[in-house]
């Protein structure tokens, strides 16, 4: 405050010429120097216009308040047909909008699997031909329906969905049920075992979960997520504690349904045998949080990061539903079996909604064991979370990291801060094989392309008044 300015000896933060920092050090003044670097060439005028936008401070504060206030309760499990009004031939997919022609191997494979699962095609070739012809086929991003899907994220009418509510912001979000690892639709596999599993999930898993959830009543997913990040999960590539806590919550109600004990056992074995089961609940919870901050003019907060296997796309609060896309990168990580970097598809999936909400790569400090799965070292994990504070506007006290003295998750990625610091959001991700039908080939680390952020700042600047006109 100005009134304090002259009150005593200041401690000074310096940015720029080292000589001036040295001059302060020579006076034994308490100083801290910024490791400053220029923003990418061509962005400076846009950054200034956005920083000068008189709406910015309040718009961002509003976005953050809404995001932090969001709740996430599992309220129901229903087929996409009922939950989202999907008709036969209508498929949702991960990431920004995409055509069949531009779709990558795993995305094409997943759509083919969904065609066969829905009975719209008998063979993979038949499915591919019909998708290529496009008659009666509609492809849309999950995000356009408030839904999210991991990896290929393909949702078809018969698939069962978790339905979550954010009562604070009156939001609803959906996500499919997790199929497990290995050869699964979301990684682009379409073999008979994949289709059989999807059928079992529709016939057995979905209805039993629905019965249990309805018996139980709402389940607070945000509370489980808060606990899991204190138990070594980061909510994207490690969901072990979350999965078990969900099962703990649901088990009495699963047993209390009319289903035979052998069916209950089958379901429990499936859920507890898949450490990623809870990912599909973290994701819609994260979606509820981030979408709560969407659509506020002047806000520079990223509300979506998502990939479709071809493009990486982001959405920003102040620019509404506009996608800023660029070619997705191939993750860098660890491979299963004999797979290697040549087998990996570019980045794919809506699961980056976890990072958009301050989890996943942003929460690595709280999940040091993750480095055995995605690569890197424990100091890297600690450093990564701490770096993310430099590109986010707030800390989420709901998701606290014990190792960082219970500091809240870095929340509210700011487009301007990403460009100014050169620090890109850190994403933990699975890797799909690039050939349709392969399935998962590994897991690793990836970052969004810088171009998503440079395009976003251009659009934000265009929507902001010229400096000096307000």
């Amino acid at each position: 405050m100005t009134s304090d300015l002259l009150a005593g000896e200041p401690s000074v933060v310096t940015a720029g010429v080292d000589l001036l920092a040295e001059a302060l050090a020579a006076q034994a003044v308490d100083t801290a120097a910024v490791d400053w670097r220029p923003p990418p060439a061509g962005t400076e005028d846009h950054l200034i216009r956005v920083a000068a936008d008189p709406r910015r401070t309040e718009a961002n504060a509003a976005a953050i308040t809404r995001m932090l206030s969001s709740t996430a309760e599992l309220v129901d499990v229903r087929p996409a047909r009922a939950a989202l009004g999907l008709e036969p031939g209508h498929f949702l997919h991960a990431g920004p909008p995409l055509s069949w022609e531009r779709a990558s191997g795993p995305m094409q494979g997943a759509l083919m699997a969904a065609m066969m699962f829905e009975g719209l095609a008998d063979t993979p070739n038949d499915a591919a031909a019909r998708l290529e012809a496009g008659d009666g086929i509609t492809l849309e991003p999950c995000h356009h329906h408030g839904a999210v899907g991991p990896m290929a994220g393909v949702v078809s009418p018969s698939m069962w969905m978790f339905e979550l509510r954010d009562e604070a912001n009156d939001g609803t979000s959906w996500c499919s049920l997790n199929e497990g690892l290995g050869k699964v639709l979301r990684y682009g596999a379409y073999s008979p075992e994949v289709i059989d599993r999807l059928r079992w999930m529709t016939d057995v898993l979905g209805p039993l979960l629905q019965a249990a959830v309805r018996r139980h009543g709402r389940i607070d997913i945000k509370a489980i997520t808060a606990q899991m990040v204190q138990m070594g999960d980061e909510g994207h590539n490690r969901n072990r504690a979350g999965t078990l806590m969900l099962l703990r919550e649901l088990l009495p109600d699963l047993i209390s349904t009319d289903a035979p004990s052998s069916t209950v056992a089958e379901v429990v074995r499936f859920v507890s045998g898949n450490d990623h089961f809870f990912l599909n609940l973290v994701m819609p919870a994260a979606k509820l949080q981030t979408v709560a901050g969407a659509g506020i003019p002047g806000s520079t907060v990223v509300t979506t990061m998502a990939r479709n296997g071809t493009d990486f796309g982001i959405q920003v609060s102040g620019t509404g539903s506009t996608w800023f896309t660029a070619p997705a990168a191939v993750p860098d990580g660890l491979y299963l079996g004999s797979y290697g970097p040549d087998d990996a598809n570019p980045d794919i999936g809506d699961s980056t909604i976890a990072e958009t909400a301050g989890l996943g790569g942003f929460a690595m400090a709280s999940a040091p064991a993750i480095v055995r799965f995605v690569g890197g070292s424990v100091p890297d994990a600690l450093r990564t979370s701490q770096l993310m504070y430099q590109i986010t506007l707030a800390e989420n006290p709901a998701y606290a990291f014990p190792i960082l003295d219970f500091r809240g998750a870095p929340t509210g990625i700011d487009v301007s801060l990403v460009l100014r610091t050169g620090i890109l959001p850190q994403i933990n991700t699975g890797m799909a094989g690039k050939v349709a039908g392969t399935g998962q080939v590994g897991a690793g680390l990836v970052k969004p392309p810088l171009e998503c952020f440079t395009s976003a700042i251009t659009a934000l600047a265009e929507a902001a008044p010229e400096v000096g006109t307000v």
Binding site: S3, L6, E9, S11, A15, A23, A26, A51, I403
Partner: protein, 498 residues
Amino acid sequence: MPRQLDVRPGVYLDSVTLMQVSSDAAALDGVNAAMVAMATELNLGLLAGMGFTAPDTAAPTDLLVAVDAVDDDALARTLAAVESALTTRTAGPQRPELGFGAAPAPHTVRAALDQSGGTLALISTPGRYAFLDAMDALDAGRSVVVFSDNVPVEQEIRLKDEAARRDLLVMGPDCGTAVIGGVGLGFANVVRPGPVGIVAASGTGAQQLMSLLDGAGVGISHCVGVGGRDMSAAVGGRTTLDALDLLDADAATETIVVIGKPPADEVADAVRDKAAELGKPVLIALQGPGQPDLTATAESVVSSLGREWSEPQWWPAPTMRTGHYPHIRGLYSGGTLCDEAMLIATETLGPIRSNIPLRPEWDVGPSLRADGHAMIDFGDDALTAGRPHPMIDNSLRVERIRAEAADPTCGVLLLDVVLGHGAHPDPAAELAPAITAAHTHAAGDGRDLAVVVALIGTAGDPQGLERQAAVLRDAGASVHLSHSAAVRKAVELVADPT
């Protein structure tokens, strides 16, 4: 001849540091040319001038290392020296090795303020970005000193309006000096604490005033730099008016002085109205024809406090001035001092050519050379592009001293030498040999070249005031702590040699 160009993406060092690394490298044996610089448009142009072609992808975020040497051995030695200098810089005292779990270095002012709990920000990033860094400080609820220049005026206004909204202060842009709570920011002399609060729209002007007051035993409570443009019609004295309120409320301040260039009329009125409202005496001493110079202002302040004023110390030249001194050539590092010199000298000498002329028709032109009286501000933006400020690096002035020594129309060399934190650690060591050589050269041509130095500094400055004065004097200069006295000495020499 062997040469090498490296482009290193993502490595950033500030231009002052890099210019030092460059000039150290260029000075090594066997080096024809060396440049270590960020790949800005300007630097890419300079690089092309050295005969190097940078890749099209080179951007201002990339570091260029270009060396042209006489042989492979010299090339390798120079590259190694550059490497070592860069390593020292990037791993300097500000960036201790990161330990396990340590927070990474802050990349924004906001992050640094969060991590350190700092109470004030000092921004000296390039002017095209400085708005972002200054806004960061305001967003974090801290006042900010913007040392950077070349910040567009509409951005200055936006920053100052934001500061007003948040009850904060923006000092600058182009704030060369400030003293807040005893801490010197930017180029700052070491001054004793005391009752005088200064509001300054001029950096070297404030340094002169504070140094003279300190020399007279009168201390400073705070010096709030406001930036050279604050009292313009466009900016409207936004910071000046707030600074007056702050100093009025400050317990340590007994009397207030406002210095700077003549303001826009309506701003002058607003400042006067504000001053009249305050409970403390305010001396408004703005530079201009017929106005008191900075030394006279210092005297007024000292007298108003009931202290005795004596003329600031000076050291006469070691030999008698006996020659004929045709014209003054003023070689300045401080723009305000250059301006004050012209205001004083023109009364006696008439037209004075300059790159910052009193009248447009007295513009010296791009050569910076004139047959008559001339005063050059080597700290002007146009002359500091791509090289360090003359308060840090005297090489341009040394070169000019050599040229003037060979010019029979030059009778008196008038120099300002500014001491204090941030300034060159030993300016006399660079200037004294040049002065001695100039004397010798001129004497060889049968001329006595008079050298008059205005030494701006205090007894507490790290360079050592007495020592600097002695070295400059031993080189043949008369040395004056009062700038206006130095100018008058120079004028006296050309008007009436004694």
